[in-house]
């Protein structure tokens, strides 16, 4: 049935009121995700990546633009009409401690979406809950225990099991492992990859860690102050960044490889990211950009195609070139 992308983010703008001022958290962002694709949304705090994820889930209403899921415009639907579609998209969050109700048993937490949507008899729901827990590597008897009896990594598995309860097609994961210890992160990443294949999921991974996103996605979109500055196939963006901000993020992501540390180009950006309440005019990155020229503070560079599937918003795209010293 699906011809076009499963998710189509089309010129979306999200604004918030901050005191008397308006903050544009997401500023004319477009992004398509094909069925089965794994897309990573990368950026620092204030980039709007989390807001965009929440807007896809309709936790925020966009002020402009459309979000199409399987061809249906979510922004045109009311809450009741949204309900059958909402089943098909689920989100997991950074902090498994805060997102699981400590007073509810794990079985109740995982099965809640099925009960709310009235899927199956009590026995069927219990059976499915146990098999979901098994799918994320937890024992079936976890149903009768409380979240506090589980470690951080196990809690994140519980939230994954709950997200899978309605057999969704799209999974939005916002910093799914950044609260976890290093040795546990890989466990959760492996589980996410396993269930993605098993359930045939399309995924949008939101993270600040570029190395992590490189590991788990097919395509990357890099955001800076509410805008996408570069998108493309993950390998191309990482090994041949076109936007100077992407290049500096790559330069700034520490990797546990002393040799690569020595080989890679070091770009240390000057200053702090500007406030999204008062973003710089024209190219938003020009105040920190190592290669900015006068035109950058006069005209905003549009996001244009530079190669198939590859878009960059920079007057001097490609000038910095590869950052990672390659073997």
């Amino acid at each position: 049935m699906t011809e076009g992308p499963l998710l189509q983010i089309d010129d979306v703008v999200v604004r918030f009121r901050v005191g008397r001022r308006r903050l544009t958290a997401v500023d004319h962002v477009s992004l398509n995700i094909a069925k089965g694709e794994r897309v990573g949304l990368v950026g620092e705090s204030g980039s709007g990546k989390t807001t965009l994820g929440l807007t896809v889930m309709r936790a925020h209403d966009p002020d402009h633009g459309r979000i199409l899921f399987d061809g249906v415009d979510l922004t045109a639907l009311n809450q009741r009409e949204l309900r059958p579609l909402r089943k098909r998209m689920q989100m997991i969050f950074q902090d498994p401690y805060a997102s699981l109700d400590p007073r509810m048993k794990v079985g109740t937490i995982v099965s809640e979406p099925m009960r709310v949507h009235g899927l199956g008899t009590k026995e069927e729901i219990r059976e499915r809950t146990e098999s979901l827990l098994q799918a994320v590597g937890l024992p079936r008897n976890a149903v009768d225990r409380y979240p506090s009896q589980f470690s951080g990594g196990q809690k994140q598995r519980i939230s994954i099991a709950r997200a899978l309860a309605l057999d969704p097609e799209l999974l939005v994961a916002d910093e799914p492992v950044s609260a976890l210890d290093v040795s546990i992160q890989a466990q959760v990443i492996a589980i996410l990859e396993e269930v993605r294949q098993q359930f045939g999921l399309t995924s949008l991974i939101i993270a600040h860690d570029l190395a992590l996103v490189y590991q788990v996605t097919d395509r990357i979109a890099v955001m800076y102050l509410g805008q996408i500055v570069e998108t493309g196939p993950t390998d191309e963006v990482v090994f041949d960044p076109q936007h100077p901000y992407t290049a500096s993020l790559l330069s700034a992501s520490p990797v546990a490889d002393p040799e690569q540390e020595r080989k890679r180009q070091r770009i240390v950006l000057y200053g702090d990211p500007p406030s999204p309440i008062d973003p710089p005019p024209a190219c938003r990155f020009h105040t920190r950009c190592p290669i900015a020229r006068p035109i950058c503070s006069e005209h905003a560079p549009p996001l244009i195609d530079v190669a198939p599937g590859r878009q960059v918003a920079c007057h001097f795209a490609g000038e910095i070139g590869p950052v990672l010293g390659e073997e």
Partner: protein, 331 residues
């Protein structure tokens, strides 16, 4: 520059020597549980040592014990902890203020809680200066502004007057660093100094810390092997209260010998053309009371032998750098 005739720093001189450090807490019924179980290391001026570990490994308690900051009712024991020739393991609570900040100083993860919120940046710095140096108010202010400038804060005169909450996270962390170095200590201990910061700001702060090292010795506590790799000369990997491996960054991160170090490295993503699947470490770290006189990593270790759950391997340099393992990874 300073009123005190401080001895000229010599690169390479030993400024910190720690021997058999233990930190324990009462666990009820007269028992104690130790979270640092006998750690020894030294560091010289101009050197950066990374102490890498996961939560609960004891890395933060190790750091705090070097400054007499282990919270009550924690007990610090050591053969010796010598900072600048002073054995601080024998210091009483009243003697610490003369050493802390002057010989050894700390940079915390969260600058907002590390700085006094109701005092301006300038008055915090001036107070710290005048605690250790006999300078007039004017001279102290001058030194404070110079230090603010030296840590890369723009408009230092204006920043002298602001409160910590008026600064961005990155600038606050720079103020913390200024506060740590203003009395030119021999040892700076930084506990996850960049964990709360964005990537591009982290890069700035790491660069600043690296510059710092030329004048002092830096101990960088971190959970992030990449952060350690980027600015440290040596790295110690900590697990369940003990160092399991210590050596040059190249030896430990490129040719790890302890299965835990190797496991951590296999579990973190990196930028490689040919992507490999991440290999998780099974299980979770033990709680301190579960650790006995055997290898604490054995239950999770793919290379564990029978001996590993009976007898604890000492931290020994067999060939190359010291490793605590009965069955180390081949080089």
């Amino acid at each position: 520059m300073t009123a005190e005739a401080a001895p000229q720093p010599v690169r390479g001189d030993r400024v910190l020597e720690v021997e058999n450090l233990r930190v324990s807490f009462p666990a009820g019924r007269g028992e104690t549980v130790s979270v640092v179980k006998g750690v020894s290391f030294g560091i010289s001026r101009g050197e950066a040592l990374g102490i890498v570990g996961e939560s609960g490994s004891g890395k933060t308690m190790t750091a705090l014990s070097l400054l007499g900051l282990v919270p009550s009712p924690g007990i610090v024991q050591a053969e010796r902890i010598v900072v600048d020739g002073i054995d601080v393991s024998k210091l009483g609570r009243r003697q610490w203020p003369a050493v802390r900040g002057k010989n050894i100083a700390m940079v915390f993860q969260d600058a907002l809680s590390g700085l006094n919120p109701v005092r301006t940046v300038g008055s915090t710095l001036v107070e710290a200066i005048r605690r250790h140096q006999e300078l007039s108010a004017g001279e102290a202010k001058e030194l404070a502004i110079r230090t603010i400038r030296s840590v890369g804060i723009p408009e230092p005169e204006a920043r002298f007057e602001v409160y910590p909450h008026q600064l961005s996270g990155g600038l606050r962390q720079r103020v913390m660093i200024a506060l740590a170095v203003v009395n030119r200590p021999s040892v700076v201990v930084a506990d996850e100094p960049t964990t709360a910061l964005d990537a591009t700001i982290q890069a700035q702060i790491l660069e600043l810390l690296e510059e710092l090292v030329s004048d002092a010795a830096l101990i960088l506590i971190t959970h992030d092997l990449g952060v350690a790799a980027s600015i440290c000369d040596r790295v110690a990997v900590m697990y369940a209260g003990r160092f399991v491996e210590i050596g040059s960054v190249d030896d430990v991160l490129s040719k790890p010998r302890h299965p835990y170090t190797a496991g951590l490295l296999a579990a973190v993503p990196r930028f490689e053309r040919r992507k490999r699947a991440l290999v998780p470490i099974a299980g979770t770290p033990p709680s301190p009371e579960e650790v006995g006189e055997w290898c604490a990593f054995a239950p999770r270790c793919p290379r564990a032998l029978e001996r590993c759950s009976i007898e604890r391997p000492p931290l020994e340099a067999l060939e190359g750098h010291p490793v605590a393992c009965w069955n180390p990874v081949e080089r």
